[in-house]
Amino acid sequence: MTESVLRARGLTRRYGRGSGMVRAVDEVDLSVPAGESLAIMGPSGCGKSTLLHLLGGLQRPTAGRVWLAGRRLDTMSERSLARLRRDSVGFVFQSFHLMDELTAVENVELAALLAGRSPRQARRRAGYLLDRVGLADRADHLPSALSGGQRQRVAVARALSNEPLVVLADEPTGNLDSAATLEILRLFEDLRTEGQTLVVVTHDSRIAAIADRMITMRDGAFADDSRLAVTAPVHGGWR
């Protein structure tokens, strides 16, 4: 078994207290080996987004531990977390979260510049990534001039900017129509085949079907964990 990029033990996040307390994530154990693509599915409100935020250090757990590349996230300072996110994690959000005032290429550069790369290096890398997501000709467009699918591709390019250990995606196709979804599916499929470690939280079965492994979440806990990559065993008839 390869070394785990991402690992969690007894990860718990609660909101509120007393009778109004909600266990968004309840004692979750998880291990994501390098190169694995993992989809976390479940009905809305099952805590899958919260889990992703905990894994990426965007939120702190109420209890439990998280490791990213062997380093504890839950006890880290906000500063170190920021540095870790910058160097090791790429986020893709449902609502893209691009800076409206920056052009596509400037948005992609953002992470590299924050990481202290020189402007020239950052620009070269951004150009390469935009070309990779098929948007080289849109580099100087503002997000408002791009379609939903194009914006999300810019966001993916930005997430890849610092060659992250893991890409965390939260409903990446949630705001897209089916044609745009296809663009993103292709992109994620490419990432998977290249061996990029991926964690996608979604209720879109199409994006989940990209993954090698699928976890179903129910009420903050894992209900089912299956590897899709293994060829289907002979199982109960269907139709």
């Binding site: 009905p43 296809l182 599916l185 292709r186 499929e189 079965s205 199409r206 989940a208 079907a209 990209i210 699928m214 179903t216 129910r218 209900a223 089912d224 299956s226 899709l228 289907a232 199982h235 109960g236 008839g237 269907w238 139709r239």
Partner: protein, 170 residues
């Protein structure tokens, strides 16, 4: 298959190629034997004629097949037909009901297992569909398969919700 001959008469091997192009990856599974068995059946029913081509050995794939008027008529009526195969969900539904009432198994676990299977199929279908080298017309068929599987997954989700609450309530 009759419809594939509607354009013009064709050799058996041409016919097989046409079928494959239209079905895309799904056509890969179709072997030559199946095609010739079907052609023979159609000839017996009087829907096609098959003639030996000149200067070629008399082998099924070297014969030229063409539609008879009855065959033409059959194609036309096939095109206007609106029947739609209905997916058979009853069996799985009964499985769940039986598992729950007779306490044979946890219906939610059955749903999970079934979902795994459907996801696996979805994954395979989708990988094929995403292949950029695929002919777009054949891709359309894959798209249909993907959509059907997604519908099944949604239904499984509904089953899950129902049986989770049943389990919790009872």
């Amino acid at each position: 298959m009759l419809a594939m001959l509607a354009k013009e008469p064709a050799h058996g091997y041409e016919l097989r190629g046409r079928m494959r192009a239209a079905l895309g990856p799904l056509g890969e599974t179709m072997n030559a034997g199946q095609i010739y068995v079907t052609l023979t059946r159609l000839a017996k029913a009087g829907l096609i004629t098959s003639e030996r081509a000149d200067g070629l050995p008399d082998r099924p794939d070297r014969r030229v097949h063409a539609l008879t008027p009855a065959g033409q008529e059959r194609v036309t009526s096939w095109l206007t037909e609106v029947s739609w195969p209905k997916p058979d969900l009853t069996e799985f539904h009964l499985k769940l009901v039986a598992a729950a009432t007779a306490r044979l198994a946890d219906p939610v676990a059955l749903v999970d297992a079934q979902r795994r299977e459907v996801m696996r199929r979805l994954r395979d279908a989708q990988r094929t569909a995403l292949d950029r080298s695929m002919d777009p017309v054949a891709g359309l068929l894959m798209e249909g398969v993907v959509l059907r599987l997604r519908a099944d997954l949604e239904w499984l989700e509904a089953c899950e919700r129902m049986w989770t609450t049943r389990k919790a309530g009872g």
